[in-house]
């Protein structure tokens, strides 16, 4: 059993961020938090249906990790991907519209909360079969290698995925073929409602990666600076070596697994203990202590975020639904009319 409090890359050793960058990180995390709070609110009004998996509590991971991912790199995410999509630069408006099921959504309303896609930002999607996106990331990196593109594929997945065969098959393949994948494991300690130590014989995830000759490291995923620093180091290693790297973020989700989860498997005390490490409020305190954040900064950020989210909801509300006549349009790529030749 791993001591989750120890054995981590300490955030304090990170070079003091510039004020500008620190405020960007805070803005990025608050944007995710407020976006999801709004999503939960409109979910309860019936505007969003289906599954809605909130990332609240884990914002430092997406915001920290994405600092290391450039526009030419690729991102593969999971069904809990609102934070990754936002941080990747997909506008909040088209994400909200997607959850409303509108044709103005990032996937034309075909995907919903779990399946955000954006080809222009190389955001290859939210995958809702646990572990199912990992082989895709390996293949994207294989294409980059074969096309001599020096890019990284960032592949997010949760601790639950580590129990899937696809994780192990993909670790092996990426290491064997030396592919530039940055595996980003968001270890929030629960596979839906089953605790890590209740489903893993070996709870040290980064150790599993090392057994496949994949370099790995664990970091405090509640600390955005530590997450950023580790991700930059890991991504740089992938770029330099062309080989895969696994970075494990030790984090925690404050909300239930999804909106339909009664959250009976965790104690209130456990959740409260983790909330003391809230990545946003702890970061705010640190910045204030260092004189990098003032009340007016915070209220400016909050009002910017509030405006963006209000506009996102307005955009989603105003959007049209895809006409039912178009239902089958995107199943296959339209084919040019071919001559009627029955063949050789």
């Amino acid at each position: 059993m791993v001591n989750l409090e120890a054995d981590l890359t300490p955030g304090e050793s990170y070079t003091q961020p510039t004020r500008e960058h620190a405020l960007e990180l805070l803005h990025g995390m608050l944007r995710i938090r407020r976006f999801e709070e709004k999503a939960a609110e409109v979910y309860s009004l019936g505007k969003i249906r289906g599954f809605l998996h909130l990332y609240i509590g884990e914002e430092a991971v997406a915001v920290g990790a994405m600092q290391a991912i450039g526009p030419d790199d690729a991102v593969v995410a999971t069904y809990r991907e609102h934070g990754h999509a936002l941080t990747r630069g997909i506008p909040a408006s088209v994400l909200m519209a997607e959850m409303y099921g509108k044709v103005t959504g990032c996937s034309r309303g075909h995907g919903g909360s779990m399946h955000f896609f954006d080809a222009s930002r190389r955001f290859y999607g939210g995958y809702a079969i646990v572990g199912g996106g990992i082989p895709i990331a390996v293949g994207l990196a294989l294409a980059d290698k074969m096309l001599n593109q020096r890019r990284v594929t960032a592949c997010f997945f949760g601790d639950g995925a580590v129990a899937e065969g696809e994780f192990h098959e993909s670790m092996n393949l990426a290491a064997l073929w030396k592919l530039p994948v940055l595996f980003l494991c968001e270890n929030n300690l629960y596979a839906m409602g089953t605790a890590l130590e209740r489903y893993q014989s070996q709870t040290d995830i980064s150790l599993k990666a090392r057994s496949y000759n994949v370099t790995s490291m664990a970091v405090d995923g509640m600390d955005v600076l530590a997450s950023e620093r580790a991700a930059r180091q890991a991504a740089e290693t992938v770029r330099e070596t062309g080989a895969p790297f696994l970075l494990e973020f030790r984090t925690y989700r404050f909300r239930a697994h999804s909106m339909s989860d009664p959250d009976l498997y965790r104690t209130k005390e456990e959740i409260e203990k983790w909330k003391q490490r809230d990545p946003i409020s702890t970061f705010e305190h640190r910045l204030r202590d260092r004189g990098l954040l003032t009340d007016s900064d915070l209220s400016r950020i909050e009002s910017e975020v509030a405006l963006e989210i209000t506009e996102a909801v307005e955009f989603a509300e105003a959007g049209e639904f895809e006409p039912v006549e178009d239902l089958l349009n995107d199943v296959c790529t339209p084919r040019p009319v071919q001559p009627n030749v029955s063949g050789r």
């Binding site: 309303g109 290859y124 995958y127 990331a137 293949g139 074969m146 993909s170 001559p339 050789r344």
Partner: protein, 330 residues
């Protein structure tokens, strides 16, 4: 062996696939082959023999026994701009990759609102009759044909083995090719000067007027034999090779049935929920008034494939069972 005056070449089904692979690898630098034992071993069915030496290990990739990872990596590589050809040794093994097939390859285009196409070709061996028993003999392409978003090809002839693969590589979406394992050594002729193939069209392999025998894959050859037997018994049978299970060329089927008024669907899969059931239902929907008899089916017995030869023979559709099924319609 190439005919000097034409582009007609005699070769086996295995060589036909290899020649298509070679042509694709030579003409398109994005094409590569990966799968279990495709390289140094030369392919479990010797299809890719010699390609590693010719194209090198970057483009002829031996994979670990990780069907889900290498089919998924094929999807990712296709998204990333390559034209991967993935060989899965047999359809039974492909079940280990079904998550990637159903949830990713087939779904990605629609799920992403049309943003991502997956130009992936997956080839695999299918079918029985080689005493390979219950884990290497099954006929599951009908399951694949159930899935919207992919195309399902079943080449029965040597030219189809070659040209369907080349046509599949021109497709923007995933194509699954099912090669019946008994066909690899069959000889035939390909004609490189023939016009480009539209693989979505079924082929009438034998003209007839009294009953339509509808089949695909290796059973085409037993069905043609059955048609000869029926001729001796005074029944003029038409034989249709479906060639492509999804999309299904129902027009060719209905036009045949409206002429013959009788249909037998021959399919190596288990009867319940078989592709033959789909074809039968579509004939009922589209040509009910043309039928002089109920649509008949000849399928495999509902049993895991047994090893012993006499039991395997009893499980699979045979010339005699096809003939009997057709005669019962008169």
């Amino acid at each position: 062996m190439k005919d000097a005056m034409t582009a007609v070449t005699k070769m086996t089904y295995r060589e036909a696939i290899r020649s298509a692979l070679r042509e694709a690898l030579r003409t398109d630098s994005r094409v590569f082959l990966m799968g279990e034992d495709v390289g140094r071993y030369g392919g479990a069915f010797a299809v890719s023999h010699g390609l590693l030496e010719e194209f090198g290990p970057e483009r002829i990739r031996d994979t670990p026994l990780s069907e889900s990872a290498f089919v998924g990596a094929g999807i990712g590589a296709a998204l990333g701009g390559m034209r991967p050809i993935v060989e899965v040794m047999t359809v039974n093994f492909s079940l280990l990759a079904l998550d990637q097939v159903v949830n990713n390859a087939a779904a990605l285009r629609h799920m992403s609102g049309g943003q991502f196409s997956v130009p992936l070709v997956v080839r695999m061996a299918t079918g029985g009759a080689r005493q390979m028993a219950a884990q290497h003999s099954h006929t599951l392409e009908g399951w694949y044909a159930h899935i919207p978003g992919i195309k399902v090809l079943t080449p029965a002839t040597v030219p189809d083995a070659k040209f369907m693969l080349l046509a599949a590589l021109r497709e923007p979406d995933p194509v699954f090719i099912f090669e019946h394992a008994t066909l690899y050594s069959m000889e035939g002729e390909t004609d490189d000067s023939a016009p480009p193939l539209d693989f979505t069209k079924a082929a009438v392999r034998r003209q007839g007027s009294e009953v339509s025998l509808i089949t695909y894959g290796a059973l085409l050859w037993k069905t043609l034999e059955a048609a000869d037997e029926l001729k001796k018994a005074g029944i003029d049978a038409e034989v249709i090779d479906l060639r492509c299970l999804r999309p299904l060329d129902i027009e060719t089927i209905l036009s045949s049935v409206s002429k013959t008024h009788r249909a037998v669907v021959i399919d190596e899969a288990w009867r319940t929920g078989s592709f033959a059931a789909e074809v039968s239902a579509q004939i009922m929907e589209g040509a009910f008034d043309d039928l002089d008899a109920p649509v008949a089916r000849v399928c495999s017995a509902e049993v895991p494939m047994p090893y012993a030869k006499h039991l395997e023979d009893a499980t699979l559709p045979q010339v005699s069972t096809i003939v009997e099924a057709a005669k019962r319609l008169f």
